[in-house]
Symmetry: C2
């Protein structure tokens, strides 16, 4: 079965590949600002659905997957930081505290569509000002929702999580497995024969 | 500063590289059966210390890191499965239940040594018998403590964790950051200038 990932996130593609899938990437190019809601889980789900619905019509025979992630932190919904100063300010606020990473998932196969969102609590470590400066100087925080990665340089700055790790990276594998099962597809049947050896 | 990883685990090396470090790998070749204890956290720590102490004398100027992981599951301490049948039997027992992944860490710099172990609760999903058969046939579960990975094909078979994700992979980045800080080394000063772009 062809799998199409409606997302340009390299972390999502890498996650699916490490888990045995070999999806085709099709970027939706949607305008995310058209979705407005105060609920972070609903926002992530609506954005995932928008991406999926934009891409799906051109791939009627494929399993199409759309995802989107936002960080909820003390009442705010945080996407990518606007610049380096914003990233520094956020990290000074986030260190030693906790947020919730919400990732919305939408899967479509033929005319059937399923949508759900996964939420994982993230407990941040306490990088000092010099570590924050070095992290922001690396450029990584500027490219990701919430100004951190858990699978990159930011890994040492997350003390612990509660929930699925892959949700934090941007695509929940156990949720995806449940969703495709509801579409009648066994997860392991999606494994590519050309997957890299482990 | 030179960093030496006293472990042959590709997952540990990959984790450190993704986090910005570029360690030299030196395999200790220790006989792990010489350590006997009923406490999984102590066992992981003692094995990490054994690896580190075996490798450190030849690298007096380097920061040497040793790690070892075990899965504690309902009173048992589980390393790698002995064969495919064992891996299948374990997964039939583990699915829908929870274990604790313990990873011991030992860091040495000069004559100073620090040892600690990190523990993360792992909640397994419920793969059906065909998924278990496909997973074991992939060969992956046979090569890892606890018969699962969270960063490979097994990713969809772990529903959630409580604690540090990297502990489950085999090396806790936040714990390592704390340990090297206690040695007077700032984590971000360990980042390699030749790290891959993110």
């Amino acid at each position: 079965m062809r799998v199409v990932l409606a997302s340009q996130s390299p972390a999502r593609l890498k996650t699916l590949r490490a888990a045995g899938l070999d999806p085709e990437v099709v970027v939706s190019g949607v305008d995310e600002s058209q979705i407005v809601t105060r609920d972070p889980a609903n926002l992530a789900a609506a954005l995932a659905q928008l991406k999926c619905r934009t891409v799906a019509p051109a791939h009627p025979d494929a399993l199409v997957i759309g995802c989107d992630s936002v960080l909820a932190f003390e009442g705010d919904i945080l996407g990518k930081p606007v610049d380096a100063d914003d990233a520094v300010a956020r990290w000074r606020r986030m260190r030693g505290r906790s947020g919730v990473l919400h990732t919305g998932h939408c899967v479509r196969l033929g005319d059937t569509e399923l949508v759900d969102s996964a939420s994982t609590i993230v407990h941040f470590a306490e990088p000092d000002d010099k570590e924050i400066a070095a992290y922001v100087a690396s450029g990584e925080p500027l490219q990701v929702a919430g100004a951190f990665t858990i699978d990159g340089l930011g890994g040492a700055f997350v003390r612990a999580i509660e929930g699925d790790h892959h949700t934090v990276v941007g695509i929940s594998l156990p949720m995806l497995r449940d969703l495709v099962a509801d579409l009648g597809v066994r997860w392991t049947d999606l494994w590519s024969v050309s997957r890299p050896s482990v």
